[in-house]
């Protein structure tokens, strides 16, 4: 289970609070959506869970299966099953996609005390998953994400997720910039990973993605706090009313 307790975060470089006491629980087997307006702290939450520099946790706790997630280095978190699908995946010149995938998978397997895959085993697995996501073979030989289209980058994130088989997936605006067909392919990829052993956190501005990946719960994040929690119908409601009602602390407890 992912348990976030009263998490408070500010930018490391300036005294600007971004998260002002976020609390939520995502049990294994559940998919939760975090929705909120721009600037509400959604991406910050995703980055803090993955361990990116540049943020300072000023209070609160994040427990993953009872362990203190915030005390771990980013690669250690990955070993523990945490995966962040980036809103803006990074381009790495000179590192072939296959090399990247294989290095990551082997590092994680090694740390988990599992056997690394042989080249044929690895290739079979990548080809299978890539095929499902409609990722052509030649792209796998190119430097990762370099010159990929927005849609290709997002598919590549899901491919990485499928290969690494994380137990906690945080997907940050995974549908942004995707046309409707791509949203379907990507959503199918995410849904294939849904299982009783996995928890997922979908971060999204729009409810569109949630038509394809139906969440168990929806949380509204605004002004750095969870303002409201509800079932999947809350997403639809937000689509109609917008986030205006959640801006400003005066409305926070309304």
């Amino acid at each position: 289970m992912l348990e976030i307790r009263d998490l408070r975060v500010k930018l490391a470089e300036e005294d600007k609070p971004i998260l002002n006491g976020v609390s939520l629980k995502v049990p294994k087997g559940e998919v939760h959506a975090i929705m909120g307006p721009n600037g509400s702290g959604k991406s910050t939450l995703a980055y803090v869970l993955a361990g990116r520099d540049g943020y300072e946790v000023t209070g609160g706790q994040v427990l993953w299966n009872g362990e203190d997630l915030l005390a771990m280095e980013p690669d250690e978190r990955a070993t523990k099953g945490v995966f962040l699908a980036f809103q803006y995946p990074m381009e790495i010149p000179g590192v072939a996609t296959l090399t990247f995938l294989r290095t990551a998978l082997n590092a994680v397997l090694r740390k988990r005390g599992q056997k690394e895959l042989t080249t044929p085993e690895f290739m079979k697995r990548v080809r299978e998953e890539a095929g499902r996501l409609g990722i052509p073979d030649d792209i796998l030989k190119r430097p990762i994400n370099v010159g990929f289209s927005g849609g290709e980058k997002k598919r590549m994130e899901i491919l990485q997720m499928a290969i690494l088989q994380p137990s906690l997936s945080v997907l940050d605006e995974t549908d942004s910039g995707l046309d409707i067909d791509a949203v379907r392919v990507v959503s199918d990829g995410v849904n294939r990973l849904r299982s009783k052993d996995r928890a997922m956190l979908l971060i999204t501005h729009y409810q569109r993605l949630l038509q394809y990946i139906v969440p168990d719960k929806v949380h509204v994040l605004a002004d750095g706090r969870i303002q409201r929690t509800g079932g999947k119908e809350l997403a639809q409601e937000l689509e109609e009313t917008g986030y205006a009602g959640f801006r400003g602390n005066a409305l926070a407890t309304a």
Binding site: A50, G51, R52, D53, E73, P74, D75, R77, A78, T79, F83, L84, F86, P89, M90, I92, P93, G94, V95, T99, F100, T103, A104, L105, A107, V108, K111, P143, Q160, L164
Partner: protein
């Protein structure tokens, strides 16, 4: 007006040591006279210092605290496996090998000339024959003192002549190994002549054998590439962490010749690689690339002078440096386009990856363009490892050290990929990788 400049201890020793060894250096009366004239010229010039533009960032006069005694090959001949160990990943390459130890040719460790069309000999023997080999006029602005010392002290080197139209069936590996237990000055000179339409790959490896003391080296290679000839000239300098390595490469390219030079410099205390290339025939192509990997207080200087003396030639330069601790990298790239040399096309790029705050990279492009219909460009960057990329890789479970190594390797990979011969490219990548592992260790 004569300006009296106090000579440094090293300058005095360099002049003084010559008297002691002059009689033992190879060559007849003409060679002896040339040596004497050269040491006289050096005495007037002194060691190059920072007020000489070409040595602005590499003040040899200050850096060279002492001049080591010239090598007279007093050490025992090493065994083949010792050479192989020193060569590291290069040892496995399928090559014609010519070995020099402490500046002297070792026939027992060297192969024979591979065919009648390819003559490989020793400079010492040629000098003794009085043929005048290796004594051609060698001039590059700012480099005169170093070349004068080379002329005065040169003991041996390779003379390679590839006949017109001939193809060297496999690369020629020239090994310059240091074995002396005491620090020595080793001075070598190579003459490489590739006939019209001939093809060859020549590798120079400068290394220290296990147990050898740090030393000083002054090496010069004079390369003539004939019309339509194609040569790959790869230099791997791994002379030893506290060694001084002064290397001069002078090349002249004929019509439609192709010269692909690569320089990998690792594990050298102070390295100055000067490469001067002159286009003598139209339509020739030059590609000079390289990597320099420095740590501790190492200082690695790459100075290129490309002279577009005739029209229609193309030059490409790409250097990648990785610097950590207090290491310093220098890149000086001069491109001259003569008034008549229209349609010249020159591009230059020098990039350094800085792994520590105290590392330093000085880059000085110099375009001297006297023609109007030319395409010339240059660029230079010094940057740290991109933290965003590191985070992305780590978020996938790749440990910090491994992520850093991958990013550094991909950074220099662009330059190493310029080496066309696959086995050679892989061997040099291995040399670099081994060095990078020492440079980029995981830092929490």
């Amino acid at each position: 007006m004569t300006l009296a400049v106090t000579k440094t201890k090293a300058e005095q020793a360099l002049s003084h040591n010559f008297e002691a060894v002059a009689a033992k250096l190879p060559g007849g009366a003409a060679v002896a006279a040339a040596r004497k004239a050269a040491i006289g010229a050096f005495a007037a010039l002194g060691l190059p210092h920072r007020r000489i533009e070409q040595w602005k960032y590499t003040d040899l006069r200050t850096a060279l605290k002492e001049a080591l005694p010239p090598s007279l090959r007093e050490a025992a001949t090493p065994r083949q496996h010792e050479i192989d160990t020193g060569l590291g990943p290069l040892a496995a390459l399928d090559c014609h090998r010519v070995v020099f130890v402490d500046g002297g040719h070792i026939p027992s460790l060297s192969g024979k000339s591979p065919s009648a069309a390819v003559a490989i000999g020793s400079l010492a023997a040629a000098l003794a024959d009085g043929a005048g080999d290796g004594l051609g006029k060698r001039e590059v602005a700012g480099q005169d003192a170093v070349i004068a010392l080379n002329t005065a002290y040169m003991t041996d080197g390779a003379i390679v002549r590839i006949a017109a139209g001939a193809t060297l069936d496999k690369p020629l590996l020239l090994v310059f190994a240091r074995s002396a237990k005491e620090g020595r000055l080793v001075t070598t000179r190579n003459v490489i002549e590739v006939g019209a339409g001939a093809r060859a790959t020549v590798i120079e490896a400068h290394l220290g054998l296990a147990g050898a003391a740090s030393g000083q080296a002054n090496t010069l290679s004079a390369v003539t590439v004939g019309d339509r000839a194609h040569i790959a000239h790869v230099v791997c300098a791994m002379a030893g962490d506290a060694s001084t390595h002064l290397a001069t490469t002078l090349a002249t390219l004929g019509e439609e010749a192709v010269y692909r030079a690569f320089q990998l410099t690792v594990a050298t205390g102070l390295a100055r690689n000067t490469m001067a290339v002159t286009f003598a025939g139209e339509g020739a192509k030059l590609d000079i690339s390289g990597c320099f990997l420095g740590r501790s207080t190492q200082h690695i200087d790459t100075t290129l002078v490309v002279d577009h003396a005739v029209p229609g030639c193309e030059s490409r330069e790409l250097f990648k440096g990785v610097l950590t601790d207090r290491a310093r990298g220098v890149f000086q790239g001069k491109v001259i386009v003569r008034p008549y040399a229209q349609k010249s096309d020159g591009k230059q790029m020098a990039q350094a990856l800085m792994l520590s705050e105290d590392a330093e990279f000085n880059s000085k492009p110099e375009l001297e363009i006297h023609a109007d219909d030319v395409v010339c460009g240059h660029g230079s960057t010094a940057a740290e490892i991109d933290e965003n990329l590191l985070f992305y890789m780590r978020s996938r479970g790749i440990p910090l050290g491994e992520a850093r190594a991958m990013l550094i390797e991909s950074f220099i990979g662009e330059a190493i990929d310029k080496i066309e011969d696959e086995a050679l490219r892989e061997a040099l990548a291995d040399v670099a990788r081994a060095r990078l592992a020492e440079l980029s260790g995981a830092r929490p």
